[in-house]
Symmetry: C2
Subunit: 143 residues, 2 copies
């Protein structure tokens, strides 16, 4: 039994084919997937998979912090598996490929400064970087 299956069992959730299909799609994805994309890929594993179930499964996975929701430039919500530790997302604006990176002390310093200046208590943050991956930089260096 894999780690995510154990986590489901631990909170009295069942391990079902639809959930396997959604997790499978996310495991093989190399960039954040929209719910519709997860449906398309998941159906290769579980033909009867429905879009509603994809939404519900993502909601569950979010609650268990198995997946992270990222802001895609096309407006849709994108979903990626969470890596261990606190990570942020770096998206290539050409091919959509995403890599995660850990948040360093730099951000904590900045957050503390902002807390001091504003009086707010900051307890969460969303950091996403956009740019071009190595391959896309070479492909269209000045096009």
């Amino acid at each position: 039994m894999t780690a995510w299956e154990q986590q489901l069992t631990a909170c009295d959730c069942r391990i079902t084919m639809p959930r396997r299909a959604v997790m499978g799609a996310l495991l093989e994805a190399e960039s954040p997937l929209a719910p519709q994309e997860i449906l398309d890929r998941g159906r290769q594993v579980h033909t009867r998979l429905g879009l509603v179930t994809v939404y519900r499964t993502l909601e569950l996975f979010l609650r268990l912090t198995l997946v992270r929701r990222v802001h895609r430039e096309d407006g849709c919500q994108g979903y990626v598996l969470t890596s261990p530790g606190h990570h942020h997302v770096l998206l290539c604006r050409d091919c959509g490929r995403a890599v995660e990176f850990p948040g360093g002390d730099d951000l904590q310093v900045l957050i503390q400064r902002v807390e001091g200046e504003t009086g707010y208590r900051v307890d969460e943050h969303l950091l996403q970087l956009f740019g071009r991956c190595t391959a896309c930089q070479q492909g269209e260096s000045d096009a």
Copy 2:
């Protein structure tokens, strides 16, 4: 003629009542507004205002960097006026009030580190902090 009106004139765009209504709503807002909210407020100035025009006007304002688009927790897109300089948004998760703050060197340090580690060229970023403003901290200290 105000600064934004000059900017519109400079790019051969007309200064219209709908655009005045949208800008008016944004000027008086104290937190990011969704298009529908802008419509409601804008109609107090220009009764005939339509939602489509709100979208088109926001698109124009975005292109001119008069407004910034922020990711709201309810899933909608929120729009706020851009402050001079490079700013980020800090949202109160209770009352929705937003303040902007300038991005410091800390973030540049982090970005350079990530560029080095991944090979990506980073040219844009989205940083939003979530927390509680001073007032909401006092109101519900442990509720």
